[in-house]
């Protein structure tokens, strides 16, 4: 397929762009294979570049052009914004205009992560059992498993867990040696099937006489019902050392509908307070945020306070499971609150762990063609991170903008990082060879400085967020960004940076003056000596 076939009219003059809080722009509209471009062709040369994959929906009344042109362009746009072949997507055509200092595709290798782990414990090993993606299609080729469990056992366990997602290491808590693992649900079915190898695997992570916790991200009812479809949960009788806790976290279309309702509420122009609060409540978005944070705190609490190991799973283990494990990381592990650590976390717990980004983030809230697999799972995770950032403004190396950028790139990007649904697909697409990694771009010092939090002070604390409704807020930076001007908030942020930077400069000045003085004094001393 050629893009030319889809683009009937590549150029329209006299188009007007209306923007909230800013003057309108008149110019020429151009359609290219991946972008819609509006250029003012003025001296100040204002241009809007809109990635087609960023387009959720197109309404005729919003595009104020001559009708005839719209009809043609509309067709093109619709076709272009819903390209179904991945290899036609923009990342495959994008050529970086910047110098790649460090190839992001190699920034976070599992082997490296394992070296770090080995420094703390020798109870775990790397397994290459999935190197051809034959044991589990959604797992990466290399996983970390208990040392005492051999690959043959793993194969058997894989047949007992949905999608072959056997329990693997997610997090090792240095403070007390406790671990968090994630997996998919066990396939017990209605007849209560058991798997000795599965029991052996997870028991291998327990200290003698210690208990562990299994956190099931479904309600007890939902877990029970899953049996009829071949799924299920760990029976107490077969897992006597484990205590199971059910915490219900919503998934799939329920989350997608929640997002759609929230966005609709944010765009409500009625100026009616009751209506806003009622719509905010009806969207249930903050309820989901609270549920996810609560469950993550529970997991972290079991590890840090109870000194117990934890296994987290829901049904497939690729949505709510990953939300919980990655947020528990952030609560427990100061490293994951640094930029590099957070990127490593996204790479490991989301990309490598097989969260199906391409399916979940196909379109966002405005899309009228609802697809079954869409869900703002990752956005909810970022929202929870933002809530924690708000409660602990000095504990994160990165700022809010960093989270917003990850949200944007997860949905539409010139980079290949979030393409595909798992490592298996990514390899087939040859992303490493054919596209640029988001990390290559973000991790350049010049870009990175935009995402630094000036208030950051590294601390080794476990940070417990409050999950009281009073403590959770709507993430304005994402949901209201087009509805209100952020001028004054940006100004405040710049001022914070200025205050901190000014002190740094002063400190440098003090140091320089001290050196100067010391030098003078030594010279003096030498002069004095005969």
């Amino acid at each position: 397929m050629e893009f030319v076939e889809l683009i009937k009219t590549p150029r329209v003059d006299g188009a007007i762009l209306h923007r909230p809080f800013q003057p309108r722009v008149e110019g020429t509209l151009c359609l290219t294979g991946h972008h819609l471009i509006l250029s003012s062709r003025q001296d100040n040369n204002e241009e809007l570049w809109l990635l087609h994959s960023n387009i959720d929906a197109i309404e005729k009344r919003l595009v104020r052009l001559e009708l005839r042109v719209i009809m043609i362009n509309l067709f093109s746009l619709q076709a272009l914004s819903t390209l179904d072949s991945t290899t036609l997507m923009y990342p495959f055509f994008y050529r970086p205009m910047f110098e790649v200092l460090e190839d992001g595709w190699h920034s976070f290798l599992p082997e490296h992560e394992f070296t770090l782990l080995s420094a703390m414990t020798d109870e775990w090993r790397l397994s290459y059992i999935n190197k051809d993606f034959t044991v589990c299609t959604s797992y990466p080729p290399i996983v970390i498993v208990p040392k005492s469990i051999d690959d043959e056992t793993l194969k058997k366990v894989a047949t007992f867990r949905q999608g072959g997602r056997f329990p693997v290491l997610s997090y090792y808590h240095k403070k007390n040696g406790m671990v968090m693992m994630h997996s998919a649900q066990p396939l017990t079915g209605t007849n209560g099937r058991r798997c000795k190898e599965d029991e052996k695997l997870i028991n291998a992570t327990l200290r003698a006489g210690k208990r562990g916790y299994i956190i099931d991200t479904r309600s007890a009812n939902a877990a029970q019902q899953a049996k009829t479809k071949g799924g299920g949960f760990e029976q107490e009788a077969h897992y006597p050392q484990w205590r199971r806790i059910h915490k219900s976290i919503e998934r799939y279309h329920i989350l997608q509908e929640s997002l759609i309702k929230l966005v609709e509420a944010s765009n409500d122009q009625s100026h009616n307070m009751d209506r806003w609060l009622s719509k905010l409540e009806a969207s249930s978005w903050l309820t989901h945020v609270k549920e996810i944070l609560t469950t993550s705190c529970l997991a972290a609490q079991c590890i840090d306070r109870e000194g117990a190991s934890v296994l987290v799973h829901g049904s497939e283990g690729i949505d709510s499971t990953l939300q919980v494990t990655s947020l528990a990381h952030i609560i427990l592990d100061p490293e994951s609150r640094t930029i590099n650590g957070f990127e490593a976390l996204v790479e490991r717990e989301w990309l490598q762990a097989g969260h199906p980004f391409q399916q979940r983030c196909a379109q966002s809230a405005y899309s009228n063609s609802k697809q079954k697999n869409e869900a703002p799972t990752f956005l909810l995770f970022l929202d929870c991170c933002w809530q924690m950032q708000r409660q602990f403004p000095c504990s994160f190396e990165f700022n809010e903008q960093f989270l917003v950028v990850l949200f944007e790139h997860a949905y539409a990007s010139q980079f290949g990082t979030f393409l595909g649904n798992n490592e298996n697909e990514r390899r087939k697409l040859k992303l490493q060879q054919k596209t640029v990694s988001l990390w290559s771009w973000i991790n350049r010092p010049k870009e990175l400085e935009k995402y630094l939090n000036p208030l950051y002070e590294a601390n080794s604390l476990v940070i417990w967020p409050s999950v009281a409704p009073q403590s959770l807020q709507l993430w304005e930076g994402v949901f209201l960004r087009w509805n209100r001007s952020s001028k004054y908030l940006d100004e405040a942020w710049d001022e914070i940076i200025h205050i901190i930077e000014y002190n740094k400069d002063l400190q440098a000045k003090v140091n320089a003056l001290r050196r100067q003085l010391a030098e003078l004094q030594t010279e003096d001393g030498e002069l004095e000596r005969p």
Partner: protein, 598 residues
């Protein structure tokens, strides 16, 4: 003291409303002015001070197996839950507090006995610190359009107005008197704010009237009805809001539904809309505006003061905000004593009118973080003192009453005390160069958030665990120190240069940069993660001492350095926490001044 039969009760439990952790045990004392609770934990003696005047309601709940529960609700939204072993003690405390929290006579209020050890001259200076006359001069009044009138000398024309009033130039006394007879309570139109930035004489006015002006008789006047609800609606709305705040572990949905049903944010938005409308009319449409409600001492005052805050950056300064409160609220006869329930009286007169104004100011600060010289603490402090009756400013219902009470001779003014501590109230992001900017707030509903720092202020677990404000205050302090160090070093260098060229002696160099910070790193309190209570976890928490209830106490305690940690946790966790603090200490300038008393 005649109300206190049992001044001391031992073995009193203090329950934590939000978590199910083990309650503290301590001793409860009743003094003439305060209820003081001292925890008897051997590690530290955490104190809670509650001013009697701050108590809005006391509830004796049914007897339980552990004792007799006593629930105390405060006007600054603190809720304290005690359990007293013996029912007789509980009853004694209950009846004492009932009396102590509702004085009958003005003279029983704290301000009349409060003695900050200041001499008479300072007291007098304190009261003269703010001068309404000066404020009108600042606005440029008198001028060719407006002049002062002495028509209310001796409070003869309107007994709820002050004596210093400004009216259109050339208005004769008979006209004023005539107008006053036409307006409810004699509250004829007087100048509230003169906007001198306009070439035209645009100004905001106030007056009162039952009903409204017949349009036929007021040509070239446009009418705008804003619909701010009356004091009774507002009182009930706040009550509902507080019920929501006090819910134990509500779901998000329950909370948001409760917030909506309380109507509180709807009312706040209406007041803000009105203020913004008024400011726009004056600043952009060059119009003069007359604002009134029925009596003109509640809604009118709210709207006028809010508009002034939007129009004039002076009122956004620490001193200017005092002037605004003094001018628009105190001198124009907002009935503080009745609205705040200072004395035993008609509960229907109580209404959170001033609280709403404070909240509107907070919303503006959220939208314009660099436009105010002061921070949230300042608002909370003023709000506290409106109820505390520790200072004379808010006692009484109008200037006449205040004069009769001889407040200036018998009590102290709050403002000099606030000014003395103004470093605490500074907003480090304030850009003083942004003067003459009229604020145009966005009043779309999503701009109005629940103010957790006010209504759940004493539930420390709900507040952000690290404060940007504290961090920035530390930076401001560092900045001053660094600048001094630079100056000092430069001087030494010059001296060194001189000494090198002349005599040779070496100056001792001992300059160190204080790297301390008062920022406290607080380990969070897990809330309700464990709904099912399947596992009981040691609740390792640190909590801040809560002694913010009394201005007297506060002046020493408001700084973070006086916050001390409590540990109700088991020893292992406690050690862990101490260790964590040490780790924080080591990390450059995060020295925590929190003391862990052993």
């Amino acid at each position: 003291m005649e109300h206190i039969t049992t001044p001391k009760v031992e073995q009193v439990k203090l329950l934590d409303r939000l978590t199910s952790k083990k309650p503290a045990v301590g001793t409860l004392y009743l003094t003439a002015t305060h209820l003081i609770y001292v925890e008897s934990s051997p590690e530290l003696r955490r104190e809670t001070w509650i001013l009697h005047h701050h108590i809005s309601a006391i509830e004796k709940l049914p007897l339980t197996s552990t004792g007799c529960p006593l629930l105390i609700h405060c006007k600054n939204f603190r809720v304290t839950h005690f359990v007293i072993c013996r029912e007789r003690d509980c009853h004694d405390v209950y009846s004492s507090l009932l009396k102590l929290s509702q004085p009958v006579l003005f003279e029983e209020l704290y301000a009349f006995s409060y003695n900050p050890k200041q001499n008479e001259m300072d007291r007098g200076m304190g009261w003269k610190m703010l001068d309404i006359r000066e404020e009108f001069q600042r606005m440029g009044v008198p001028n060719e359009y407006w002049e002062q009138t002495d028509v209310n000398e001796g409070y003869e024309t309107c007994n709820t107005y002050s004596t210093f009033l400004c009216v259109p130039k050339g208005t004769s006394k008979p006209i004023i008197v005539g107008s006053s007879k036409f307006r409810s309570r004699g509250r004829f139109p007087v100048l509230s704010y003169f906007f001198k930035e306009n070439s035209l004489n645009a100004m905001a006015n106030r007056a009162a009237g039952k009903g409204y002006e017949n349009e036929d008789h007021y040509s070239n006047i446009r009418f705008q009805f804003i619909g701010i609800e009356n004091i009774h609606v507002m009182r009930n709305s706040l009550q509902k809001l507080l019920e929501v705040c006090e819910l134990k572990a509500p779901s998000m949905s329950e909370f948001l539904t409760g917030l909506e049903n309380s109507g509180w944010l709807r009312h706040i938005k209406t007041v803000m809309d009105a203020g913004a409308f008024l400011a726009k009319a004056v600043a952009e449409e060059n119009a003069s505006v007359l604002v009134h409600c029925s009596d003109g001492w509640d809604r009118t005052v709210q709207v006028c003061s809010l508009a002034a805050l939007l129009l004039d950056s002076y009122y956004r300064s620490i001193k200017g905000f005092m002037v605004l409160v003094e001018k628009e609220w105190i001198s124009m006869g907002h009935k503080f004593s009745q609205r705040c329930g200072h004395l035993e009286g008609d509960p229907k007169e109580v209404s959170p009118v001033f609280t709403q104004f404070i909240e509107c100011t907070w919303h503006l600060m959220e939208q314009f973080p660099c436009a105010f010289e002061f921070n949230e603490r300042y608002l909370l402090e003023i709000h506290d003192h409106v109820f505390s009756c520790q200072f004379g400013n808010f006692i009484g219902n109008c200037q006449k009453e205040r004069q009769e009470l001889k407040l200036q001779e018998k009590t102290y003014s709050l403002w000099p005390f606030l000014l003395e501590k103004q470093y605490l109230y500074q907003n480090p992001l304030y850009k003083s160069n942004a003067v003459n900017i009229v604020l145009k707030p966005n009043t779309a509903p999503f701009n109005f958030k629940f103010w957790c720092g006010m209504y759940n202020r004493f539930d420390k677990g709900m507040q952000p665990r690290q404060s940007v404000l504290d961090c920035l205050h530390v930076s401001m302090k560092q900045k001053i120190e660094l600048e001094e160090t630079v100056t000092g070093l430069n001087q030494k260098l010059t001296q060194q240069d001189q000494s090198q060229s002349g005599a040779t002696f070496i100056l001792p160099m001992k300059i160190s940069i204080e790297d301390d910070s008062s920022q406290s790193q607080v380990l969070g309190v897990p809330q309700d993660y464990m709904e099912e209570q399947q596992i009981l976890l040691a609740n390792g928490t640190e909590e801040l001492i809560e002694t913010i209830s009394d201005g007297n106490q506060e002046r020493d305690n408001v700084t973070d350095s006086s916050f001390s940690h409590q540990s109700t946790l088991n020893n292992i966790d406690c050690l862990g926490l101490v260790k964590l603090n040490v780790q924080v200490d080591e990390g450059s300038h995060q020295i925590s001044q929190d003391t862990i008393e052993k």
